[in-house]
Subunit: 335 residues, 2 copies
């Protein structure tokens, strides 16, 4: 018998999640049934959507998340013992999954792509839902053209940092906003952003006048709210906004959403297109994104930073750290 | 020599336009030059964009607008004396236009389409930029499907009333919001909207729970602001919002735009697409819209109401009346 541990949400979050909203359950895994596989977790991903989706499920529920692990036992021929896999399951150290059972779009399990020597942790960072989010959310919604000006918020985060680098590969001018001076330095000095600013200490409106004198063509928005309104004011005719996240509002009371200057005047006058997306819209095309991202990483065109927390007992700390912007690059936990 | 009169804007509007922001200039028209045509105005259109675009030009400038008139003299073979024409020129009783001169997208002049017996005033109401706005802005951006639920704000206005009727033709359920009980009654009893509400006296959120229990698929937005945020909260996954206007904000100080609950959370979670447009994006396809709209009007599928003010000296009153919602249907002035 294998002893397993997992995080269970026992109380819906109010404002920022609290440690006490979770408890860790220890239990004995049952024997494998037909089609099931047993995975030993090696890496756990903490992501903003885990905050945003919290009220989609009645409590108590297993905290969902992506993991990278190794198959330790299998009753499913497609998965062999020793295979590395990526699964959307729970924050757990061991789990049993039936890859045939797809109850929601969140039931995802696939073999780790051939990372050609890169760390398996990339299976939940760059070469993952996160990479697919950056790749499709930017390219399919913003349709960037060489020479255009792109603004990215949450630019030092897992998705934003990849979006900015893809924009550079596509020949765009890239302006990033992040929340600490260290992140800003990393974006400019290591990732090749043309300009990066600390939104907490700059005047977004004033810096855009300087950094984007010809206006903004594409805006990849992770943040929402006041800042988005300000950036949208700087957009050019037929500008495209890809709305990936709204981290400024995830911890707000949904019945009392924050207010920001309205967008409609700009949307009409400049004929803007603003579109939101979830990466699994393109789930069948993720391998295409993974292939290209792996190439770019191996060619040195995309640099990946992982913000690694160690230990199963520290997943909550990694989660809250990510929500408060402590991470530069992708926040993950090594088990 | 022909004596002409026109409205000149001498002062940019602040808040609602004032009569004193305009003066009427009387002057002698010069003899026609090569390619020019002389038009005697019969109908003048007053529209929300005339408020919204006010600061696009330095003062003083001729107040722009669409007119229907008759060619009284012509040095341009394509236009014969007696031809009915539609022109985007000024609020004037006579004007000279050179159809070759296109300095901006607003320089438009074309022969009145064959209205097959309908009033020539339709050339600035249903069979005009207004009709094209409703037709393309709804069909090309919302892509309505039979059985879907469509919400229209400013539903009793020139554009909104046509959009709602096109939505009915396309087999949708249509919910309209307007600003008086008379307008609401007109929408429900005469235009065939499934439901209409007076947004000034209803709770938008509560009525949508009842009128759109399965959510909103398409939203044609003329208003913007708080109300738009509330309606967007009711939208379904992959909902489409066509942003046609933002009349709630046209009279606001642009540096101090009103605030409303942010949209980004819904945009992401429901993968919404919100797009603004100006009708001249499809200028080369306007005849296609005109043809179909004329058919629908003649078949009784679309009913048109014109809110007619009489007299050149009353154009300002018609304009401010339209901006304050006094019109049901298209506000026009008979000269």
């Amino acid at each position: 018998m294998v002893k397993a541990r997992k995080y269970v949400v026992r109380k819906h979050f109010e404002g920022f999640p609290k440690r006490d909203d979770f408890h860790i359950v220890e239990y004995e895994l049952p024997p494998l049934q037909s089609s099931e596989i047993l995975i030993k977790t090696e890496w756990i991903s903490v992501d903003p959507y885990q905050r945003a989706y919290n009220r989609k499920f009645p409590t108590p529920f297993d905290q969902f998340g992506f993991i990278v692990g190794t198959v330790e036992d299998s009753r499913k021929p497609r998965f062999q013992i020793g295979d590395k896999v990526v699964a959307h399951c729970s924050w757990c150290n061991y789990c049993i999954i039936n890859p045939n059972e797809v109850n929601s779009k969140l039931d995802i399990v696939y073999k780790l792509p051939d990372l050609r020597g890169l760390s398996p942790s990339l299976g939940i960072s760059a070469i993952s839902a996160v990479g697919a989010t950056a790749y499709f959310g930017f390219l399919e919604i913003c349709h960037p053209k060489a020479g255009e000006t792109v603004v990215v918020t949450g630019a030092a985060g897992a998705v934003g940092s990849i979006v900015g680098q893809i924009a550079k590969i596509k020949g765009c001018k890239v302006i990033g906003f992040a929340g600490t001076d260290d992140k800003v330095a990393w974006l400019q000095n290591e990732l090749g952003f043309d300009k990066a600013y600390n939104y907490k200490t700059c005047n977004v409106n004033e810096v855009l006048k300087i950094a984007a004198p010809n206006g903004v063509d594409c805006f990849f928005d992770n943040v929402g709210g006041e800042m988005s309104s300000m950036i949208i004011n700087h957009m050019n005719d037929f500008g495209r906004v890809s709305v990936c996240g709204s981290i400024s509002a995830y911890n707000a009371d949904v019945s009392q959403l924050p207010k920001a200057p309205i967008l409609q005047l700009d949307i009409v006058m400049k004929q803007l297109k603003i579109e939101g997306f979830l990466a699994h819209r393109w789930l069948d095309r993720w391998p295409e994104a993974f292939e290209e991202l792996i190439n770019w990483i191996l060619e040195g065109k995309i640099k990946i930073k992982e913000h690694i927390t160690e230990g199963f007992d520290n997943v909550f700390e990694a989660f809250i750290g990510m929500l408060t912007g402590k991470n530069t690059g992708k926040a993950i936990v090594k088990i």
